[in-house]
Symmetry: C2
Subunit: 456 residues, 2 copies
């Protein structure tokens, strides 16, 4: 362990925070071409910082879209392991802007939290890694392992260019393992190893009835109502016990072992009812809310619309209705096959008198799971516990990170998900923030981890 690196972080805390503020002040919103300059500014910020730290090779790679910042440190020698560090410098849009209590791009500390767009997702966490590399270089004169840095600018818009680059440049990006800090802990100050992520697939269902909205008095009783048709289709896909009733949906799903149920039970986690403001949770029959959320597949209607949405009444049979559905998958489920099952189900139950079309969501991902007793994971847990003074818990989460699946599929390397966010960070929402306590203890975790890693 490097006491010197740790002291450096403590002594230079103000300067580092001020530098982080500079980074967060750049509105690097990737969805909107109006921010193209800001995207480039954020990439250049990283390029300069990596050069200042002393990386051997630093470059901005042309992706066809927003630049990818790449860097290498090779001086730990051929016997030391090489880590691929992935992060992203682009951020979500800030709408609705009027709900922010402070300017999303003027970072402000309130009650021990740093408020800014990107403070948690993912600029804040990216910065922590760079600061730790800086601390090692400035105090020890070297890093304890070889490092490849890959920080992209298109995570919030689907990482399509990254996917191609990871495929095409396998020599460049290959490493012994990968570390990603783009996730969170299950509670503030609760060290958390994320050892499983869900996969992802989706469909859109379009139901078309009459070729124009029709008078419900003149035609009610003669024409199939597309909204009602869609209701019948959708309610045949999941029942009130929150069980998906699409044939074959659960085929191949690894059963939850008693041991894993025990592991999930021990996780304190958040109170879903208070986070959501509801009286009761609702989960798959036979499973707790934590079990379902962490380790069972889900089926959600993300949006549905058809007909009149204004005030009062408009007595029509609408001409169409649409529903958007996404599923989160667990190990053993193949996204393409599940998508196929959903499509077949919809066509099988589609009533007469309307046209039903299924559009398959292009983006999909397999679930990811790593064994909790992998030594890379165990070392991460140990470092976490040392920094936070609390036992590390192991969790699987309902979210999906496509890049995790890609790195695993293409490189077959283990991936360590070292997240320092908290459930209150409000990612993608107004008033995103990150606890300064996570900033300090997270950097300490990384200092411990890098020195642990190279121990035989």
């Amino acid at each position: 362990m490097s006491e010197k690196a740790l002291s450096y972080l403590t002594e230079n805390r103000e300067q580092l925070l001020s530098k982080l503020n500079d980074f967060l002040s750049i509105p690097s919103v990737s969805t909107d071409s109006i921010h193209k300059k800001d995207i480039n500014k954020a990439a250049s910020f990283l390029e300069t910082y990596l050069n200042d730290i002393g990386f051997d090779k630093v470059e901005q790679q042309d992706t066809g879209g927003h630049p990818l910042v790449y860097a290498e440190y090779n001086q730990a020698g051929p016997d030391a392991p090489t880590v691929l560090f992935y992060g992203h410098y682009d951020v979500q849009p800030v709408d609705p802007i009027d709900q922010w209590k402070s300017d999303p791009f003027k970072p402000e500390v309130r009650d021990g939290r740093l408020y800014a767009r990107g403070s948690s997702d993912d600029k804040g966490q990216v910065f922590m890694h760079l600061a730790v590399f800086e601390a090692y270089m400035k105090t020890e004169g070297n890093l304890p392992l070889n490092v490849k840095v890959c920080i992209e600018g298109e995570e919030e818009i689907g990482s399509e260019n990254l996917y191609r680059i990871l495929h095409d440049k396998q020599d460049q990006f290959n490493a012994d393992f990968a570390v990603i800090s783009d996730s969170g802990m299950i509670a503030e100050n609760q060290p958390t190893i994320l050892y499983g992520l869900k996969g992802f697939t989706g469909i859109e269902i379009n139901v078309t009835g009459p070729d124009h909205d029709m008078h419900s008095g003149m035609y009610g009783g003669a024409i199939r109502n597309p909204i009602m048709a869609l209701n019948h289709i959708l309610s045949s896909m999941k029942n009130e016990d929150e069980v998906v009733t699409v044939d074959g949906f659960y085929d191949g799903v690894e059963p939850l072992t008693d041991k894993e149920r025990e592991l999930i039970k021990q996780v304190q986690g958040e109170d879903y009812r208070s986070t959501a403001g509801v009286n009761e949770t609702a989960s798959e029959k036979g499973y707790t809310a934590k079990e379902h959320t962490m380790a069972r597949p889900t089926f959600e209607i993300n949006g549905m619309y058809g007909g009149y949405q204004g005030e009062g009444t408009k007595t029509i049979i609408p001409s169409s209705a649409t529903a958007k559905i996404t599923c989160r998958l667990v190990p053993g489920q193949d996204p393409d096959q599940v998508q196929q099952l959903l499509e077949e189900h919809v066509y099988n139950v589609a009533p007469s008198g309307v046209e039903v079309e299924v559009v398959k969501e292009k983006l999909s991902a397999k679930a990811y799971k790593v064994e909790p007793n992998n030594p890379l994971i165990e070392k991460a847990a140990k470092s976490y516990t040392k920094a936070f003074g609390k036992e590390t818990v192991y969790v699987r989460m309902g979210g999906s990170i496509p890049v995790v699946e890609w790195i695993e599929n293409i490189y077959k390397m283990p991936i360590v998900l070292l997240g320092f966010g908290t459930p209150d960070d409000r990612l993608h929402s107004p008033n995103e923030s990150f606890p300064l306590d996570s900033f300090d203890k997270g950097m300490e975790t990384l200092v411990h981890y890098w020195s642990e890693i190279n121990k035989k």
Copy 2:
């Protein structure tokens, strides 16, 4: 029969159409306060016209909203019957304006049809009545019966003020029977007596889940999805056989007699499939589309929405979902009771984990039915046949006209629904039109009818 009145209409056809165009050119849209001046202009147009015709008393009544145009003709003497003629001079909004092939307020004749907002609903039909009164006065010097004219400016926004006025001024509006021309024939050139209208009630269902949209990965499996909950509620209310499955919904519904089924079967009517552009009709099990549309109650979702409606995917559990439902009722059903049954059903089946609220639609109406062998109806049928040269058919229709129920309930007077519109008129839609053939033959029908009425 007045040959002179008929000749007058033929000889003055161009002037009458030009005057109708002036009336249709006034954008008397009642929903939008920007058109308040136009509303007043349309009311003044009618006031002037009624004065010019020679009515004894003409006035604009202050309703608290848009003015009601009232007129009386009393010179037919105490032995002649008195008719209350009802119509409306306000029109629907014109959105979406870009779908109109010609300006909605610059009337244009194409292929024998007069295109303009209000040409069919209801300015065109109101004008026909006034033109016939003019023809009688200009040629015979009198009308064959006493007339009370009631033309309101708030039909398209619910006629709330009219309802109060009909209640409060019963002496003024009382008559021997009422005539309304705010409906249509079942096919172009097919004289149609409408002897039954459906009633009406409705509810809105609001389902509230989490207090903000939540990440479907982090919370899917823990939180009830309001859209899915609403799907389960709605699909429990009507099945795929188009049978309403709300307990008690059909209680009291008069069974369809063999004779009435025969009457409905004989109606040629429109081809619902081609009007709607669908492959198949969909109707209550055991009933044809015509039977269901004309004489069986209906349940329609007019609009439904919740969650994400944009392009692509947004992986959320939405915080709420809403559905708007209206029912058309038949004789024997009480709107308030049906509304109550709908509400109870929704609360009974509402799943846990979401809040469900039912908002009752304020406007409701009982179904209306008059005996087809009533002499007033028989005389209308005879006049129709004379003008159109074709046997008159008797139909019930799925639409609701609240004013019909009010006049019946308050005044207990028979109501004759003399509609001259056609199924292709596109009421409330872009490119509303009215066949000039209906204009000519409709006025001829009225000339015959007024002279028939006073025959003993």
